[in-house]
C-alpha cells in the first residue's frame, strides 16, 4: 500500500443489547494527511480476512470491517474481545461518522 492510495473502511457493528446493525465509515480522502496515514497503517495491520463469527456471549457485539484499498476489497469479521491487531481500528471506527442503515 502506498502513501497515496485511497482507503475506505466501513465498520458494521451487530448484536449488543440493541441487536441493531450500526454502520460507520472513514475515507482517507476526507481526512487530514496525518489521520489518513494512521488509517492506512491500521488497515495494513489487520489480520487476514475471515468468515462471519457469532457473538461470544448474549448481547456481545460482532464486527464486520469492510476495507477498500484502491478498489481491492477485503472483509474481516471479529467478535469480542477484538484481537489486538484490529482493536485500534475498531476503536477509531467506533467514533467515525454514522452511515445510513442498510434497509
Amino acid at each position: 500500500m502506498t502513501e497515496a492510495e485511497r482507503v475506505r473502511v466501513v465498520l458494521e457493528r451487530s448484536g449488543g443489547f440493541a441487536g441493531r446493525t450500526i454502520r460507520r465509515g472513514l475515507d482517507t480522502e476526507d481526512l487530514p494527511a496525518v489521520e489518513a496515514d494512521r488509517l492506512r497503517a491500521l488497515v495494513a495491520a489487520l489480520p487476514a480476512t475471515s468468515g462471519p463469527v457469532g457473538a461470544t456471549a448474549p448481547d456481545r457485539f460482532t464486527y464486520a470491517v469492510e476495507v477498500d484499498v484502491s478498489g481491492r476489497r477485503g472483509l474481516h469479521h471479529f467478535a469480542e474481545p477484538v484481537p489486538a491487531e484490529a482493536r485500534d481500528l475498531v476503536q477509531l471506527l467506533s467514533r467515525a461518522p454514522l452511515l445510513p442503515a442498510s434497509r
Binding site: R13, S14, G15, G16, F17, A18, G19, R20, T21, I22, P52, G54, A55, T56, A57, P58, D59, R60, F61, T62, P81, Q91, S94, R95, L98, L99, P100, A101, S102, R103
Partner: protein, 359 residues
C-alpha cells in the same frame, strides 16, 4: 447421605457455546480431531442434562429433605466499580452495599437497578440472587470509550456510557439492567443456546423479566405497563421510543441510522438470517408478544401468573438447551396446568396460537 440438589445442579454450568445440533454436524462432517472434540463436548452436555433431570427428580421426591436454609429475607450484596473509560474489569470500587449515593448518576443507577432486580427475584420467585445461592452482585460502569452496550459477562454486569449520538448511558433503563441480569439467570437455570429459536427465547426471557422488574418496581398492572424495552436509552434526535416493544413488536423505532424496528409479532414474519446469531434480537418479538398476550389475558400484575409460568418453564428440567418456540410454548402450558387451572391453560394456549406458534 446429605443430599444437596442445588449444589449438584451448579456443576452443570460448563459453558458450551455451541448448541447440540452444531456439535452433531461437526461430528458428521468434521475432521477426526474436530469430531473427537465435538463428541466429548456433546457427551458432557448430555451428562449435564441428565444430572439436572435426576437432581430435579430427587428434589421433587424428597421435598422436605431438600436443604434450602434460605434466610427469611435474603438481601443483596452489591459492589459498583468504575472502569474509568478503560476495558479493564472490574475497575475501582466506588460504592458498596449500604453506602450512601454518590455524585455519579451511573453508579447510583447501577446500584439501584441491581437492587431492584434482586428484590424482584427475591420477593416474587423467592430466588436468592442470579444463581439462587446468594451470589454477590458486581457491576462496572464507565466501561470503554463511548461504549454502546451493557452485558452480563458470566460473572458481573458491565455498562458502557453510550456514544451520545445513538445511545445514552446504559444504566438509564431499569429494564435493561433486569434484561442483562436475567441472562445470568437463564444461563444458570436453562443454558439456552444463543442461536436461532433457542437464542431468540434466551433474548425474550431477558425482555420478559427485564420488563417485569420495571413493572414490579412501579407497581404496575399488565394493562397499565408500557411493555417497552430500553425506554430512555435512545439519544435525543433518534426517531423512536425504545429498542423493542413487547406489546407491538416492530413499532419501537424508525430511524435513518438505526433502521426500522423489524421485530415480527407472528411466526408468519419469522426472519431467517445468519446475522445476529440467527436473528435472536429480531425473532424474540414472537415469544415477547406471546408473553404479553398471556399477561393481558390474566390481568392484574403480570408477574403473578404469566411471570410465574414463564419462570417455572425456565427452571423446568425438560427445557432443552436447543429448545424451539413450540417446545418452550408446550412447557408453559404444562406449567400453567401445574401451577394454576384449566383457564390458565387456555389463556397460555391462546397467547401462543395468536402469534402463530402451533401448540
Amino acid at each position: 447421605m446429605h443430599l444437596e440438589p442445588r449444589s449438584i445442579a451448579t456443576t452443570r454450568q460448563t459453558p458450551c457455546a455451541l448448541p447440540p445440533n452444531i456439535l452433531e454436524r461437526i461430528i458428521r462432517n468434521g475432521t477426526e480431531e474436530q469430531r473427537d472434540w465435538a463428541l466429548g463436548t456433546l457427551s458432557l452436555d448430555t451428562t449435564n442434562r441428565m444430572v439436572r433431570l435426576q437432581t430435579a427428580q430427587i428434589a421433587a421426591a424428597l421435598p422436605r429433605r431438600r436443604p434450602r436454609p434460605v434466610p427469611a429475607s435474603p438481601s443483596a450484596r452489591r459492589t459498583i466499580a468504575d472502569a474509568q473509560s478503560t476495558e479493564t474489569l472490574p475497575g475501582k470500587t466506588v460504592r458498596t452495599e449500604g453506602q450512601a449515593s454518590v455524585s455519579d448518576v451511573a453508579v447510583n443507577e447501577a446500584y439501584d437497578g441491581l437492587g431492584a432486580t434482586f428484590d424482584f427475584y427475591s420477593a416474587v420467585f423467592h430466588r436468592d440472587s442470579i444463581d439462587d445461592e446468594g451470589l454477590a452482585l458486581l457491576a462496572t460502569v464507565h466501561y470503554g470509550d463511548h461504549y454502546d452496550n451493557a452485558f452480563w459477562n458470566g460473572e458481573q454486569m458491565v455498562f458502557g456510557d453510550g456514544d451520545g449520538e445513538l445511545f445514552n448511558r446504559f444504566t438509564i433503563s431499569l429494564d435493561v439492567i433486569g434484561h442483562e441480569l436475567t441472562h445470568g439467570v437463564t444461563e444458570d437455570e436453562a443454558g439456552l443456546a444463543y442461536l436461532n429459536q433457542a437464542g431468540a427465547l434466551n433474548e425474550s426471557v431477558s425482555d420478559v423479566f427485564g420488563s417485569l422488574v420495571k413493572q414490579y418496581k412501579l407497581g404496575q398492572k399488565a394493562g397499565d405497563a408500557d411493555w417497552l424495552i430500553g425506554e430512555g436509552l435512545l439519544a435525543p434526535g433518534v426517531q423512536g421510543v425504545a429498542l423493542r416493544s413487547m406489546k407491538a413488536p416492530g413499532t419501537a423505532f424508525d430511524d435513518p441510522v438505526l433502521g426500522k424496528d423489524d421485530q415480527p409479532a407472528n411466526m408468519s414474519g419469522y426472519v431467517r438470517t445468519t446475522s445476529d446469531n440467527g436473528g435472536v434480537h429480531t425473532n424474540s418479538g414472537i415469544p415477547n408478544k406471546a408473553f404479553y398476550n398471556a399477561a393481558i389475558a390474566f390481568g392484574g400484575h403480570a408477574w403473578e401468573k404469566a411471570g410465574k409460568i414463564w419462570y417455572e418453564t425456565l427452571r423446568s428440567p425438560q427445557l432443552r438447551t436447543n429448545a424451539s418456540f413450540v417446545a418452550f410454548a408446550n412447557l408453559t402450558v404444562t406449567q400453567a396446568r401445574t401451577l394454576f387451572d384449566a383457564d390458565a391453560v387456555r389463556a397460555v394456549q391462546d397467547a401462543w396460537r395468536a402469534v402463530g406458534v402451533k401448540i
